[in-house]
Amino acid sequence: MNAPRKFLLFIPAETQRSRRAIVIAYYLVFIAFAIWLLWLRGPARYARLLPMTYFWASMLGGLSFTGPVRLFSRWQRKFQDGSAWGIDGSRPHPYLAGRPLIQPIDRLDEHDIAMRDRAHYLAYSTLRWPAIAAALFAPLILMDSSPERVAHILFLISVPVAALFFSLPQAIILWTEPDVEPDPQESSPQTAVHTVS
């Protein structure tokens, strides 16, 4: 039986190469989004940015409770109601579908948790330096600015930084997750990608 191909952001995610392509595509669009912010003005447009930031950050699964991007998991078959964990292009997110979320954190085994923690450590230990630098230098830059300009610059900084804080751990997992070699004992071939959280 041929399992359906799985996609993340409309890109097939079976191999490490394609997963890395997803990360590159994601951050290219991210840079375009950050540049677009430069032209943004007015409170109404700023307000629209907040749900957009949430949407942007959750594209790689960064806002889900499960944390890691589980590309190879078969655990969704244990969900009796058929709910899945994330946005993988073919299954509705459990929140959006109105289905009960069945303690997804319990679905991570110890290796998943170790991988999640390592990715978050790597991401946040990298991001802390630009974040600290921005916090220290922002007052110097904004000292003589008008309130409107201050608000604009703070939005310019905070929205991409928020999205980056949410997405980077997931991007690290996507980037580093190796391909699974075929199991000789497996009678039917393993399907590479099953769920993305």
Binding site: R70, F72, S73, R74, W75, D109, E110, H111, D112, A114, M115, R118, V180, E181, D183, P184, Q185, E186, S187, Q190
Partner: protein
């Protein structure tokens, strides 16, 4: 048998016989993962020595295979089973007879 490479949880390399024990019993990674309630990919990481299990998981593996933990995991590379059973490797078997 794992090559005991650097593990993703940053601890010292640990060698194991999970792949051999699984093959002996004709189990797939998914079968073993279901029995231990872990992800099947985790079994692959264990077999390659990319991940060192917790004591809980090590004891679960020990119980499942009915073997002591030191028969499954070792800080030193395992000798080949043939060498352990017959006392010598293939090259020296002629000398021992």
């Amino acid at each position: 048998m794992s090559n005991g490479g650097s593990s993703t949880n940053g601890s010292v390399p640990l060698y194991n016989r999970i792949a051999v024990l699984r093959a002996e019993r004709g189990l797939s990674r998914q079968d073993l993962a279901d029995a231990l309630d872990v992800n099947y990919q985790t079994i692959g990481f264990l077999e390659r020595g990319d991940y060192n299990p917790s004591l809980t998981l090590a004891f679960a593996l020990s119980r499942y295979f009915g073997l002591p933990i030191e028969a499954i995991f070792s800080p030193e590379p395992f000798r080949p089973l043939s060498e352990q059973v017959y006392g010598h490797g293939r090259s020296s078997s002629g000398e021992s007879q």
